[in-house]
Amino acid sequence: MGEKVLMKGNEAIAEAAIRAGCMHYFGYPITPQTEVAAYMSKRMPKVGGVFLQAESEIAAINMVIGVAATGKRVMTSSSSPGISLKGEGISYLAGCDLPAVVVNVQRGGPGLGGIQPSQADYWQTTRGGGHGDYHNIVLAPASVQEMASLTVRGFDLADKYRMVVMILADGTMGQMMEPVEIDNIEPLKVEKPWALTGTGMKRKPNIVNSLYLKPNELEKTNFDRYKKYTKIAETEALAEEYLMEDAEICVTAFGITSRVAKNAIKEARAQGIKVGMIRPITLWPFPKSTYMKHADQCKAFISVEMNMGQMIEDVQLAIECKKPVTLCNRTGGMIPKPEEILAKIKEVGGVK
């Protein structure tokens, strides 16, 4: 493209996926992410790709498994209740070491909840959701541009590490428009000798499988997978630091809340309060070292979340409980206002 165009976050994800070489998309309608499927349904036939509306979220994630098993790039997207239904499938993808990108444009929960933006699936996304020992790489975009660029990155990481990458967005990120530039992308080329392509009678059959009836073998695959996770934790964690050089108070937030927090921080700085922000871009691996780096310098941390306080635990663990971490939250589809965050900054900073 080169040129900047205005796009909804949901559309940016879809377009970026196609640019990244994802020629297969399976989904099931749900607000607030329907535009992903709508966009795919228009574009895929034009580029020779496959858009298929599945009969359910469960069918969709299992179709994803099918394509991933053949070694091609594939994506599905949904919103909170639909992601819950994909839990088993995501666990299978992990157990089969299959690469795939799964998008969650979160809405308020639990249950049917509401359709307004939320970040209440943080735990679900970073701590399983599905059963068993595994991790997904979790990317949290905070702009429409990042909706695109992290989607592209997601596909590369998925292929590189043979695992699920989740894009954890929220209704606001999905619905808002911003200028976005989707470069002509060179997708990472990863050899996939394990892929199911038919033996052609030339090699032994490839098997994609997560069943190990012998527990020692299952344990070994888990141990091996965790070695990979450890490596990822060391190399792939990403965070943005904003005005952190001299910060005494560290606000931390991801996605839409990080943008609201920026407004509050600007205002606080204007009032002379030394506050900055760490914005985790990867929620798993959590960018612990970025926090640790500032644990001594800062006297307090504030975790701004659109949920009842989920990331806060990761922050506490990252700084090894060295400093107090305070929660500043709204939930159920409510978005915190800059004033609320500012008030919390002042409260924590002891400023009247």
Partner: protein
Amino acid sequence: MATLNILYAGFGGQGILFSGRFLAYEGLLLGKQVSWLPSYGPEMRGGTANCSVILSDDPIGSPIVDKPDILVAMNLPSLDKYEDAVVSGGKIFVDSSLIERKVKRTDVDVYYVPATKIASEHDMPTLANMVITGKLLKEVSGLGIDNLDEVLGKIVSARRQNLVEYNKKAINVGYTFQ
């Protein structure tokens, strides 16, 4: 214009989101940072709709406009709801053909435009939104009608390019409305 926080509010079906996109593209062409955020809901037809648009010289933080510099009120409930939120010194554009009451605030500039009526009179009943937007382009410094073709070309879908002219006309009518 360091940052311009604009809030469009009215009924669904009044073209609120389209006008917002128009302004966002206008900002883009002016080299601004821009963001556009609709309210979305299950009542996609009828019910209220509003749209936050921000144009700024700096990177945009929150895309949500709580405290508009500019409010475009296209029905009474919207005016009731957002009048007090407008910043002091801000501007309120009122579709006076649908809203009978006057704005109570005295610390803001108010523009009454009978946009729906004007649009009907000009035989483009669905373009009240663009009429009032025309007025907005006139009254807000830094904006204007210099690049209508380009902006409209972007936001009107390829299959409906014939609508470009209508929109231009509506904007111009609003722009010149006294």
